[in-house]
Subunit: 145 residues, 4 copies
């Protein structure tokens, strides 16, 4: 589950009058990839929210926009877990154009787990932690919290 990848197409809705993908939309692309990464780990966020009373929220994002993507481009968006705590984690994500591998945008996304009613930080559910640790066990080196 290291270097999970999710493919997606650029549609009209993603572009702006500059003729390229509107930069804020890379945050959407990154999130789609994280959602599919969690799904691949066995977790659905709507179920987590409704049944578990917990949500992952984004606490911070740092993104570098390197090259423009255009309508009809097909992108590969990657997810790598780089830090895992008990209430939050950090992911490194990249978006590349599939046709030529050009790096379009990349960044670090910090995710926190909160109570879906109060928005107060809460422990990441144990089942998810275990799945993350199983994935993280193959990382090159442990990363302290």
């Amino acid at each position: 589950m290291i270097d999970f990848e999710h493919g997606l197409r650029v549609y009209w809705e993603d572009t702006d009058a500059g003729g390229v993908v509107f930069y804020a939309n890379y945050l959407k692309f990154f999130e789609r990839a994280r959602t599919e990464w969690l799904r691949a780990l066995g977790f659905e966020q709507e179920r987590l929210r409704v049944e578990g009373g917990a949500m992952f929220i984004v606490g911070g994002t740092t993104v570098r926009y390197l090259s423009p993507a255009r309508l009809d481009d097909f992108l590969q968006v990657s997810v790598r877990l780089t830090e895992r705590g008990r209430v939050s984690m950090t992911l490194f994500q990249q978006a590349r154009r599939a046709s030529d591998g050009a790096l379009l945008a990349e960044g670090e996304i910090r995710i926190g787990c909160v109570d879906s009613r109060t928005f107060k930080p809460t422990r990441i559910p144990v089942s998810i932690l275990q799945a993350l640790d199983a994935a993280a066990s193959t990382l090159p080196a442990p990363i302290p919290e």
Copy 2:
């Protein structure tokens, strides 16, 4: 409250690679105007949802896109109540460019009131009905449900 108007600016986020406002965004512009129209009548939807357990949802939209708007254009979006029932209403809305009055898009939006938990149709709160009727009393002719 007939022909309520709300002004808004076109930003990068609203445009697409065609260089003009992405057509789906007129639904957002129309909704901003409806929200401000309700606010002008004395109602806030978040309070209605949290305290009253009711939400207005959109049941149907018919929109004609007539002329393109561009980045930096300032638009005037109108709201006219054309039909009022006990659980739903219909509004006629237009978006015009302020600088030259050009009609950009117009359409009919059908709104229904639902229980915010079950999404089942529910009566529009009496206080809102009364405010709507006060506004509607100035309409040219009564419109049967």
Copy 3:
């Protein structure tokens, strides 16, 4: 190419505070399906815009919102060509939840071909017309312009 279908997932970006898909986003879902339908017919819109100087724009939309979709739902969005002229066409589209087949939204979308610089109506490129006619030849009955 009749009843073309495109599958897509509902992500956080697609939802609103009502807990369901924001209705305006069905226009985005419908467009993604139309884009993939054109791609399946052999046409890419960015190439059409840059090389051919033509764009398809949306002239009118009528959408009925029937049932709410939620985060993590997987949708099937259909495209059926119902009318084909020389500068415009009309499509009937539906969005269903894949898990139970529930009809979420449906509508008619009128598309016109315009010069990408002047936004004036122009003929749909012959190659596209031919591909559409090949698809339309299997329709139950001819639809006059």
Copy 4:
């Protein structure tokens, strides 16, 4: 022009199923404020793009999401120029809820000027540089490029 502020309302379109503003939308809010800041300095980006052949693009964003905003909240979004080069600049921006002053999100946005056709870096137009310098002259201390 230091600490320019732009007010905006949170609408349904801005929220997600968590019941709060979708975090990616703060980038839109920040951009609306930057656009109004440039307009207040006398510059319109559409004119710059069409007549001047130049565009400002976002090269990097670092945003911290501190507290959730909800439907109907009115926000004040600030813009402060913190660094000014010949082809790029950096802005510090904050979004606060007007009613209680709560800091919702803040971050640094790096903007670059590019040729609107080739997307290659180009000088910020002299007239804009002069306006920025006039504004920057009131900054506490010069910031080297």
